[in-house]
Each structure stands twice: as structure tokens, then as C-alpha cells.
């Protein structure tokens, strides 16, 4: 049996994920622990179905890259800049304090200075993949704890760069390493960053527009992946973290109209690869080493988690995080991370670490990652209910980009709605599927996102879960109905108002459960009719009243006909014809009413002054 074939491996991974994750979720342990355990089971120390854990881990790290890209898309440069204080302050303090304490402990326990330093640096980092996945899963990213956690993780990702640069200097295998600081490498790195910034700002949007204009969704998806992979490779070539490069690319595209489309396109890849990453971490737990010296490794892992938790707790408190969120913030970042694997790998090849140390530390980190989902369960079960009584946290900080209104379609119709809302201080998330049209709108400084509003993933990316109102203004009657069904099914809380083409479309909208609609030509035509009446000698007031009466009658008739919606067409035609006659009569009697009664008789009544009253 060819058990190393790609398809067979894919079969094993997918099967493990499909079996383990739902069970884990059902038991309340969350998806991450499910993946980790699935990895343990199928890995070399479980059933031994898959052996090349390290290769897979390397491949699956691309999931982390996509994750950071997606997070970058959520953060435009302005908001990133606004976060500089927590990133540098909280993040910097966490890394430095944790690393110093761990290094001192290492030296106390008899490690050499350089070994202790590298180990401490690696262990000070948390798992971006793990922490962000857990925070996202529980929808905690928008909370202060999520916000601070993210800041710390971001600083750690940046800190990896100098760490990777320092390790070779500490090594003994100096053959392939130049002594001293590598200025050329620094220049290269800066050059690449400049390339990404310039490319992201000026080149990418026109290219995305061209690709979107082809109307082929898979090409757009392919380009999205290509973009992330290319950025990752480019950044990796100059020795920077791939995840950080992808994050940068994401940030630069966060302002673009393609943000939501990009986000929803990479979503499935991101999810699968992250799952694979966790499976790979599970597989790479070397139970041989663990069983050889279980108490040492378990002690190290638990000690590491306890130490990091305490430091994070203290820092979070110092930083003024709300008390009820402190434990969450500390626990979610308490594990060792994937960058430790990378650092320790480099440390071994450059001769800083002997193999035994590398193996022990990698198992320790992997094991510490296993504790986090469990600690989160304990937190949710025992700590959170008690803390819930503390005062409510301040308003969500990260949510300021999620608007309460989504406008689907920004053509002639949607634009007017958007402008009216904007004039009243209400900003909407706007979705439009014509890239050429978007280009024009952008020039008028409308914030419009590219994509087909009838796609569930795009709606979700546009914030349909938090929005209150969806305005359907797309120029596709069938599309509008599909969109309504989609929203009813997935976002039942979302109120819908919809543009209607004609009476038939109104009936279809009513059938699909939307009762706030506007026939797109109706109001304009009535206004025009009013003008016509004025040209024919009606006073402005009388023309206006006639228009009002016509509108009311028309709306009434429409509902009358709708009651016979499921009957023969002829019936509806008859009702409609009858109604037209009736309207004529109403108008006529009104006419008499206004001229005769209001004028003559009121004058008479006023002078009559009955004294019985």
C-alpha cells in the first residue's frame, strides 16, 4: 500500500479533523484541542499513520501566514498606528520581562549563558495561531483582552526578526555566518518592506481591478493566494517572518475595496491550513522524549505556562485591563508558540543548542500548547461565571469598522440612499460587484467594497452578523430574492428593506417576507405626474394632494391584488381595472368636495354661526 501518497495523507488529515473536531467541540473543548489530539492520534506516537510531521508542520505554517494576512486586512494603517502604544508597551514589556526571567532561571539551573538566552527568547513567544484562533472562536477579538492579546502577539512577531538575527552570533558553527551584524541583510529587509508598501499602495489595486473585471471568481481566488504566497516568499528570502510580511500586505489592502472579497476568498484555506498546523503540532509531540523523562518535561511545560500567566496577569493589570478579562488575557497567551520551533531549529543548526536541548524544548512547547485549550475550558467553566459580576467592559474597540447598515448595490439607487444616510452621520458598509463602477465611486471618495452581495461569506465579512439593517439596492431582481433568503437563513436578526422593480417584483418580495420596499420608478413618476398637473393649471397644493391620494390608492390596490397573488392572472387584471375606475371616482368626488364644500359652505357656516353651540 502506498501510504505516503498525497491523496492518502490528505484522506487521513481530513478524516481525523472531521472526526476529532466535532467531538471536541461537542465536549466543550473547542476546535483547537480537537485538532491537536487528532494529530497525536494519527502521528508517529499514536497510530503511526503519518510520519513526516516536520514537513507537514512546515507546510501548514502557511496557515499562520494566511491568518496574519486576514488580520492585516482588518487593520488599516490608521488603526494600526493607533495601536502603537499597546504593541510597543505591553508587547515589549511581555517579551523582555519574560525572556529575562526565563534566562536567569536557566542560568541558575546550570545552562550556559547563550543556551539560556536563546531558550528564554524562544519560550517568551506565544502561539499566534493558537491564541488568535481561540479568541476568534469565542468572538473575543473585539474585547479589550482580545485587543491587548493581539497587540502582544504582533510585537512578538516583529521581535522574531532580531531574535533570528542574534542566534547565529551566539553559535559555535561560525563557518557559514559572518561575524558581526549583517548590514546588508538589514538593507535587504528594508528594501523588501519598501517594495511591499509601494506595491501594495499603488500597483495592487489596479491589478485586482483587472482581475475582478474578468468576472471569474476562481481567478480572483487564485490571485489572492498567489499574492500571499509571493509576499511570504519574498519576505522569507531576506530572512523575515513570512507571517509578518503577509500581515503587512494585509494592512496595505485593508483600505481597498477588495478587502471583503479577499477576506472571504482565503477564509476556507486559512481554516484548513490552520487546522493542519494544529494537527502537525499534535503529531510533533515526541512521546519518546516525554516518556524518557516525563516529570522534567511536564514540569517544564507547566512551569512555563504558570510563569507566563503570572507575568501577563501582572502586566495586564498594570495596563488597566478590566478585572474580569485579566485571566482570559493571561491564559490565552500562556503557551509557547510556533516561532519557538523555528528559533530552536536555527539554534540547533548554528550549534547554539545541543540536539537534546532542542528536542526537550520542542516537546515542552508543544505540550504547553496542549494546555491552553484546556485552561480556556476551565476558565469558561469556573472563573468566568464569577467574574461576570464585575462591571461591564467598555464598548468594543475593534468594532468601530463594523457599520450598522449594509448597502448591497451602489448604482443609481443605492447611492442616493448611501448619501442620505451619510449626510445624517450614518456610515454604511457598501458592496458593489462592478469593479469599473467602484473605481469611479472611489474617486468621489465613497468607501465601497468589491464583491457579489449574494455570497454568504462576503456578507459575513462585511459584518452582517453585527449589522442591524440591510438595504438591498442591487439591479438584479432574482439576485435580490436570493439575497433575502440567504439573510433570513443566516442572519435572522438583520432587518431588510429592498428596492423593487415593478409590481410583480413587489409581490415576490412580499412572498419572500420583505414588507418594506420601494418601487424604483414609482416616486419619481408620481413627482413627475404632479408636475404635469401643475403645468395643466392645478395649484401646487392641489397637485400634491392628488399625488398623495393616488399613491395611497395605488398602494391599497397593490395589496388587494396581492391577496389574489396565487389566483389566475385574469382575476388580478380585473381587480386592477376596477381599481383604476374607482380611483377616478374618488378623485372626482374629492374634487367636488374641495371646491364646493370647503370654499362656499364653510364660508356660509362661519357666517351662520349657529347659536345652539
Amino acid at each position: 500500500m502506498d501510504d505516503h501518497s498525497l491523496l492518502f495523507n490528505a484522506f487521513i488529515y481530513l478524516l481525523a479533523a472531521v472526526l476529532a473536531v466535532p467531538i471536541s467541540k461537542r465536549l466543550g473543548f473547542g476546535a483547537v484541542l480537537g485538532y491537536l489530539l487528532a494529530g497525536v492520534v494519527i502521528g508517529p506516537w499514536g497510530l503511526g499513520l503519518i510520519r513526516e510531521a516536520e514537513d507537514i508542520l512546515h507546510f501548514a505554517e502557511f496557515g499562520v501566514v494566511l491568518l496574519l494576512f486576514a488580520i492585516g486586512l482588518e487593520l488599516n494603517p490608521r488603526r494600526l498606528w493607533a495601536m502603537r502604544k499597546p504593541i510597543l508597551g505591553l508587547g515589549g514589556a511581555q517579551v523582555v520581562i519574560t525572556a529575562v526571567i526565563l534566562a536567569v532561571l536557566g542560568i541558575v539551573f546550570g545552562l550556559s549563558g547563550s543556551v539560556a538566552l536563546v531558550a528564554a527568547m524562544g519560550l517568551s513567544l506565544s502561539s499566534t495561531a493558537m491564541a488568535l484562533q481561540l479568541l476568534t472562536e469565542k468572538n473575543l477579538l473585539p474585547t479589550p483582552a482580545g485587543h491587548s492579546g493581539f497587540s502582544v502577539l504582533l510585537f512578538q512577531d516583529i521581535a522574531v526578526i532580531p531574535m533570528l538575527a542574534i542566534i547565529p552570533l551566539l553559535g559555535t558553527n561560525l563557518t557559514d555566518v559572518q561575524s558581526g551584524f549583517d548590514w546588508l541583510a538589514l538593507l535587504e529587509a528594508l528594501g523588501v518592506i519598501a517594495l511591499i508598501v509601494i506595491g501594495g499602495r499603488f500597483v495592487l489595486r489596479p491589478v485586482l481591478r483587472l482581475i475582478a473585471a474578468t468576472g471569474l471568481r476562481e481567478v480572483f481566488t487564485a490571485f489572492t493566494l498567489l499574492l500571499v504566497i509571493a509576499t511570504a516568499l519574498l519576505v522569507n528570502a531576506v530572512g523575515m517572518s513570512m507571517a509578518l510580511g503577509a500581515f503587512l500586505a494585509g494592512v496595505l489592502l485593508a483600505e481597498s475595496e477588495y478587502r471583503h472579497a479577499l477576506e472571504s476568498d482565503i477564509e476556507p484555506f486559512k481554516g484548513l491550513l490552520l487546522g493542519l498546523f494544529f494537527i502537525a503540532v499534535g503529531m510533533s509531540i515526541d512521546f519518546g522524549i516525554l516518556l524518557h523523562d516525563p516529570w522534567l518535561i511536564i514540569g517544564l511545560a507547566l512551569g512555563l505556562v504558570a510563569m507566563k500567566t503570572m507575568i501577563l496577569y501582572g502586566l495586564g493589570r498594570l495596563y488597566g485591563l478590566p478585572a474580569r478579562q485579566l485571566p482570559l488575557f493571561a491564559l490565552v497567551l500562556s503557551q509557547g508558540g510556533e516561532f519557538a520551533f523555528v528559533l530552536f531549529g536555527v539554534a540547533q543548526t548554528t550549534g547554539v543548542f545541543p540536539t537534546t536541548i532542542t528536542d526537550i524544548l520542542i516537546v515542552t512547547v508543544a505540550l504547553s500548547m496542549l494546555t491552553t485549550p484546556l485552561l480556556m475550558v476551565l476558565h469558561d467553566k469556573f472563573l468566568a461565571p464569577r467574574l461576570a459580576r464585575a462591571p461591564a467592559p467598555p464598548m468594543d474597540e475593534m468594532q468601530d469598522e463594523g457599520h450598522a447598515v449594509i448597502i448591497a448595490g451602489f448604482g443609481r439607487f443605492g447611492q442616493i440612499i448611501g448619501r442620505l444616510l451619510h449626510a445624517n452621520g450614518i456610515d454604511a458598509t457598501v458592496l458593489e460587484h462592478d469593479p469599473n463602477h467602484i473605481e469611479t465611486l472611489r474617486r468621489f471618495r465613497f468607501k465601497v467594497f468589491y464583491g457579489d452581495a449574494c455570497r454568504l461569506d462576503l456578507l459575513r465579512a462585511a459584518g452582517a452578523e453585527r449589522a442591524k439593517l440591510l438595504v438591498i439596492a442591487i439591479d438584479e431582481r432574482e439576485g435580490a430574492l436570493r439575497l433575502i433568503d440567504l439573510v433570513h437563513e443566516n442572519f435572522p436578526h438583520l432587518q431588510i428593506i429592498s428596492r423593487a422593480w415593478d409590481v410583480t417584483h413587489v409581490f415576490e418580495l412580499l412572498e419572500h417576507g420583505v414588507d418594506v420596499y420601494e418601487r424604483e420608478t414609482f416616486e419619481g413618476a408620481i413627482r413627475m405626474g404632479e408636475e404635469a398637473l401643475k403645468k395643466l393649471g392645478f395649484t401646487a397644493w392641489r397637485a400634491k394632494q392628488a399625488a398623495h391620494r393616488f399613491r395611497a390608492h395605488d398602494e391599497e390596490t397593490l395589496h388587494e391584488i396581492y391577496n389574489h397573488y396565487h389566483e389566475e392572472f385574469d382575476v388580478r387584471v380585473r381587480i386592477s381595472a376596477d381599481a383604476r375606475e374607482r380611483l377616478r371616482e374618488i378623485m372626482h368626488s374629492d374634487e367636488e368636495h374641495i371646491s364646493t364644500q370647503a370654499d362656499q359652505e364653510w364660508r356660509q357656516a362661519a357666517t351662520d354661526k349657529p347659536d345652539s353651540h
Binding site: 394632494q545 391620494r549 395611497a552 364644500q597 359652505e601 364653510w602 357656516a605 349657529p610 353651540h613
Partner: protein
């Protein structure tokens, strides 16, 4: 006929979202079971009043309430427009115009200025009851009993306890109302 009396409260305010007093007053009576609360500007923002509908509502009511602030010595314009379009000859007065005969009418009104401003020599020069004569006379002309108006003066500077107390009085009046007991 139903046991509990029918009351219709017509209300209008151009900026209810900014008015504390009228919000409190509305909240005080809106949920009373036999009160039909009709916010005219919410129903007819473009002044196109459904005359047939409102004539029916008036016909069914034992007590008709106009609740409003005072703008320029009168209720907001839509009340006048309501009178002009709904209280027609043959309905409210004239031959066969007996639909409102014998009903009670209450004006529940609030002013920004204190009571002492409404007197000769005060900045509003006339007594308040003189300024609202047109409404009083409209009610009489249609054969209705004009009940003593429920006035809250000085809204610009009133402590919230006083507003609450007034709202409670207003509510109690509508709750306890019986046709014919108020002459």
C-alpha cells in the same frame, strides 16, 4: 357598547427626541388599555391625513384629547390641518354633522414659559386660557364639552419630580375617566 370608555389621544411634536416633558407624558398614557394613542406626525409626516380613517376614530371615541406643546400660541400646525381636513361639514357641524355631539374634549398642553408670563404686562401679554380660545371654541362649535385643560407651564426649567407628578395626574385622569362625569 364596551364597558371601558374609548379615549383617543392625538399627539404631535416636531422634535420629540429632544423633549423630556412630552416623552414622559406620552409614556405615561400610551399603554393605557382603552387609549388609542395617535402620533399625528408619525402617521402623516407629509400632512396627508386619512380623513375617513380619522373620522371613524373620532366617532368611536368618548373623550378626544389633543396633547401637544404650544408653538406660537397654538398647537403644532398639523393639529390645525387636522381640524381643516377632518372636521368637515356634514361630519362635525352643519346639516347632519353630529358625529362629535356630546363627546368630551381635553387639551393636554405644555408651555416653555412659566405661568406668570401669561398675563397682561407679562411677556406673553394674555392669559393662557385666552390664547387657547380657538381650540376651545372649535370643540364647542362641534358640540363637545371642553374640559378644563391640563396645562404644564414652565417646561424649560422644571425639576423632573414635577414633570413626573404632572404625568401621573394626566395618567390618572385618563384611567379614571367616565363619560358624562366631568361636566
Amino acid at each position: 357598547m364596551a364597558n371601558s370608555p374609548n379615549i383617543v389621544v392625538y399627539f404631535a411634536h416636531l422634535a420629540i427626541e429632544q423633549s423630556v416633558i412630552n416623552r414622559v407624558l406620552c409614556d405615561a398614557v400610551r399603554d393605557i388599555r382603552h387609549v388609542n394613542f395617535r402620533d399625528l406626525l408619525e402617521l402623516y409626516p407629509d400632512f396627508f391625513i386619512d380623513v375617513k380613517k380619522e373620522q371613524e376614530v373620532l366617532r368611536d371615541a368618548d373623550l378626544i384629547v389633543f396633547q401637544s406643546p404650544i408653538y406660537w400660541y397654538a398647537a403644532p400646525a398639523i393639529f390645525k390641518h387636522f381640524q381643516d381636513t377632518v372636521l368637515l361639514r356634514g361630519f362635525a357641524y352643519g346639516p347632519g354633522g353630529t358625529a362629535l355631539q356630546g363627546k368630551d374634549f381635553l387639551f393636554a398642553v405644555s408651555t416653555g414659559a412659566p405661568a406668570e408670563d401669561y398675563r397682561p404686562g407679562g411677556i406673553h401679554h394674555y392669559a393662557f386660557e385666552d390664547l387657547i380660545r380657538p381650540i376651545e371654541q372649535t370643540a364647542r362649535f362641534c358640540g363637545m364639552q371642553f374640559l378644563p385643560p391640563l396645562v404644564l407651564h414652565g417646561g424649560h426649567s422644571l425639576p423632573s419630580e414635577e414633570i413626573e407628578a404632572h404625568a401621573a395626574r394626566y395618567r390618572r385622569f385618563l384611567e379614571d375617566y367616565q363619560p358624562g362625569n366631568n361636566r
